[in-house]
């Protein structure tokens, strides 16, 4: 039976059309994925389902169980799970109170009954010690736990449909896998239908029966997930799938060590004189050989960014030594090592044109014709000389990251350290930027350190990979070896959590994870 039916949905913000004639159906207890890159109108669709748009005109027929959708359905029949679990929960109220409040609003239950229900749903989403943790505030929960709490809130009134808008985008890969597994479990145990919105094909692959692929407000393809992701018909779907990072062929690295990291530690002191320091990097030794690309992978808080910053001399190590070509990195800052940052918007000066930003390091070196050289670099990264006088906010995310790369190339360094250079980009843009990095690396014979949380990206670009956990390297080896035969349990866990776009493989991995968890629990 059809639970949700959307016909000819149109959403306009003033003159711009976000969604242009979208139609789809979702069966009772089914799971539908809406996938698309930023600006495809997928989130606008989710908000329209609940009538949450404030400044937009929404046309079309939205029906729930055969009747038009009304605000009365919000929370009771249709529940929403948002992307940012920290800001989506009120910071002023306890988790339990917020869930109980929703339950009371829709059922008129007593305070005691509502509280009991809150604890019950928290238990259902596997919050340990739910009775006590219900009295915690959102800031006292970790990111994954907050998302669990939001899912618990969605479950409180036993809704027939859960709309999850990018529910795992802000989370680490292992936590993402847990949340996706949880959503799947909730669906099978409660019979709630799921509308899952994501930019990530891998997220949708394992969690849905049907999928709609959106681009610029239009559905370019829809059908069974198994069909669409395995044998796509539309050109755009094919391009999306092709952009997903895939393993590259093995390279023989013969170069001598260029960058040596010797027993390096970096501790950060905490407030309060008795609290122990944060051991961001805790005794790491590794070599980066001339001409190789070393990948450093780990989840948030593992110290990978601190390590990257120490490699370029931005952060001095608390102890240990980092040398480049035999010389301490402290004396070699600038010319021979450069960094590409994660967020090009905040790492480019908003009041300077991008051309000037690229020319600055050249001027610092006393280059004779900085403007000409900067223009040449702009063209090299595929932007064209015409962009020289643009400001960062006038460019798209992908273009800004190209500027970031051009600026890093300007002083002609031997080593480039890239810190999450593609994690804020859409998958097609990500593929282009990765290809660009690979091109300039080959062209200039660069050595590269590539820091990321994304194992799939690393497998494509790196020769060797170092896996970091709590400030230490737990596994280091050739990419193929580490991915085929991981030794450390943490590496295994990470690899099992990678979202894959093949639905069959995704289901197999989920079964693996469940088996792993059962053995552990």
């Amino acid at each position: 039976m059809t639970l949700l039916s959307v016909r000819d949905l149109r959403i306009r913000f003033g003159a711009t059309t976000a969604v242009d004639g979208l139609s789809f159906d979702l069966d009772e207890g089914g799971a539908l994925g809406i996938v698309g890159e930023s600006g495809s109108g997928k989130s606008a669709t989710a908000l329209a389902l609940l009538g949450l748009h404030t400044g937009a005109t929404v046309d079309g027929t939205l029906e729930f169980a055969g009747k038009p959708i009304t605000p009365a359905l919000r929370g009771a029949e249709i529940a929403m799970v948002f992307q940012e679990p920290l800001t989506a929960l009120s910071p002023f109220h306890t988790i339990g109170h917020q869930i109980a409040e929703v339950y009371r609003l829709h059922t008129g239950a007593s305070r005691k009954a509502a509280r009991a229900r809150a604890v019950e749903v928290l238990r259902q989403v596997h919050i340990a010690d739910a009775e006590r943790r219900a009295d915690a505030y959102p800031h006292q929960f970790s990111g994954g736990m907050r998302q669990r709490a939001l899912i618990a809130m969605a479950l409180a009134c036993r809704p027939r449909l859960i709309v999850a808008d990018e529910p795992t985008t802000a989370l680490d890969v292992t936590v993402q896998a847990q949340i996706l597994d949880l959503l799947d479990e909730v669906r099978t145990t409660t019979g709630t239908a799921l509308l899952l919105i994501s930019h990530d094909l891998g997220v949708v692959a394992g969690a849905t029966d049907d999928v709609v692929v959106m681009r610029r407000g239009v559905a370019v393809e829809s059908g069974r997930t198994d069909d669409v992701l395995v044998s796509p018909q539309a050109g755009y779907t094919k391009a999306l799938l092709a952009a997903v990072p895939r393993p590259s062929s093995r390279r023989e690295i013969t170069g001598a060590p260029l960058l040596r990291v010797e027993n390096v530690r970096r501790h950060f002191r905490q407030r309060g004189f008795r609290s122990p320091p944060v051991r961001a990097v805790d005794g790491i030794s590794l070599d980066v050989r001339e001409g190789e690309t070393l990948g450093i992978v780990g989840e948030s808080g593992t110290g990978k960014t601190t390590l990257a910053r120490m490699m370029v001399g931005l952060v001095p190590p608390s102890s240990g030594r980092i040398t480049l070509g035999g010389k301490d990195i402290k004396q070699r800052r600038g010319r021979s090592v450069q960094m590409v940052f994660q967020d090009p918007m905040s790492s480019l000066n908003p009041r300077r044109t991008v051309g000037e930003s690229i020319a600055d390091p050249l001027r610092l070196q006393g280059h004779a014709t900085p403007r000409e050289e900067a223009t040449r670099l702009l063209e090299r990264v595929g932007l064209g000389a015409g962009r020289y006088d643009r400001y960062p906010h006038q460019l798209s995310g992908g273009m800004r990251q190209r500027v970031g790369i051009a600026r890093a190339l300007a002083p002609a360094p031997r080593l480039i350290v890239c810190d999450e250079p593609v994690s804020s980009l859409d998958v097609t843009t990500q593929a282009q930027v990765l290809a660009l990095l690979e091109d300039v690396r080959r062209e200039r014979g660069l050595t590269m350190v590539f820091v990321t949380h994304d194992l799939a990206v690393l497998r494509q670009i790196a020769d060797r990979v170092a896996v970091m956990q709590s400030g230490q390297v737990v596994e280091l080896g050739e990419v193929a070896d580490v991915y085929e035969q991981p030794q450390h349990p943490y590496t295994k866990e990470l690899l099992a959590a990678i979202p894959v776009t093949d639905p069959v493989e995704a289901r197999r991995l989920r079964a693996d994870r469940r088996a792993l968890a059962q053995r552990a629990g």
Binding site: P71, E84, P91, F92
Partner: protein, 329 residues
């Protein structure tokens, strides 16, 4: 928790010590000699020396300051002719001008100032939050220019102008109220309020403008937060969202400001006190400064400092109570 308390108290004592030391230093830099003023016309050098000794001015500045500190803690004896006057702790000395104990003077004036400050602050907060919330709501957008105008007026117009206008209107033209004359709350609460209502309004016109603006801005920001969107997505009625979610966020910065304003009003609402003839702490200070009445000046400054320190601590506590993310360290 006990560590926190100790740190706070130690900090407060340091602030007060520094304050009193600075006042002493400034006093001795002043070109006028208070002994000459006290001695009066036809003063002979011998009499001046006697006066000096009686006022304790014959000692070095440092010794005087030390005696003052001693007096605060243990009390102090003053020579008064053949007898000795004992000033019990905490002793702030005797006024050079009126010879009354400073503590008594302050105790006399503080209720007046406190009445003025508490009433004005309550009125300002009520009006400010009310007007600010109204202006922050989409439905009442049309009130926005009005509130903005009032805010600007509140910033621009000095309090004595507002006070003068109120006096002219209510006491002279309409004759609804008598000219204010302070009546203690304990004597007659109704008359107390009747006499204070005009000064309260005069101060509130100015203070509430700031609060309204802050509330409005805070509300607007809070209504754009994700957790408000969540509440909407879960079907909460708009009014409830406003009350239990948005206002809570908007009020956080207001708490600190209110506490600090209250402290500063208690000691420095000189203009308002003068305008309405209220014998408060502010007036006492101005008079004492003009007469180089050191003990009184020091007393008032210490009282002010003490109030500010206490208000600060209270603000921190309230801040932590309103926002669970705040941790007192």
């Amino acid at each position: 928790m006990i560590g926190l308390l100790l740190r706070r108290v130690a900090g407060a004592v340091l602030v007060l010590l520094a304050l009193s030391a600075i006042v002493y230093a400034l006093f001795y830099l002043a070109p006028r000699d208070p002994a000459v003023l006290t001695c009066g016309k036809g003063c002979t050098p011998e009499r001046l020396a006697d006066v000096r000794a009686a006022m304790g001015l014959d000692e070095s500045a440092l010794t005087q300051y030390w005696h003052f500190l001693e007096g605060l803690v243990t009390g102090r004896d003053y020579p008064a002719g053949p007898d000795v006057r004992h000033c019990p702790a905490p002793c702030l000395g005797y006024s050079f001008e009126t010879d009354q104990p400073v503590t008594a003077l302050l105790a006399d004036r503080l209720p007046v100032s406190a009445s003025l400050a508490l009433g004005a602050e309550t009125l300002s907060v009520a009006v400010g939050i009310g007007a600010g919330s109204l202006a922050g709501l989409r439905r009442f957008r049309f009130l926005d220019p009005l509130v903005n105008g009032l805010v600007l007026a509140g910033y621009a117009v000095p309090v004595f102008l507002v006070g003068l206008f109120l006096l002219l209107l209510f006491c002279v033209r309409l004759q609804w109220l008598p000219f204010p004359q302070y009546v203690a709350f304990t004597t007659d609460p109704l008359q107390w309020a009747q006499n204070l209502i005009l000064p309260w309004i005069a101060l509130a016109v100015i203070l509430s403008a700031t609060y309204a603006r802050l509330t409005r801005a805070g509300l607007e920001q809070a209504l754009g937060e994700d957790y408000v969107r969540t509440a909407r997505a879960y079907g909460f009625p708009e009014r409830r969202i406003l009350r239990s979610r948005a206002l809570r966020g908007a009020l956080v910065p207001l708490v600190t400001l209110t506490a600090m304003d209250l402290a500063s009003l208690m000691a420095s609402a000189v203009l308002t006190e003068t305008m309405f003839g209220l014998p408060g702490v502010g007036q006492l200070l101005v008079g004492a400064v003009n007469q180089i009445d050191l003990p009184v000046v020091v007393g008032v400054i210490l009282l002010t400092g003490f109030l500010v320190v206490v208000a600060n601590a209270v603000a921190d506590l309230l801040y932590a109570a309103v926002d669970p993310r705040v941790q007192l360290t």
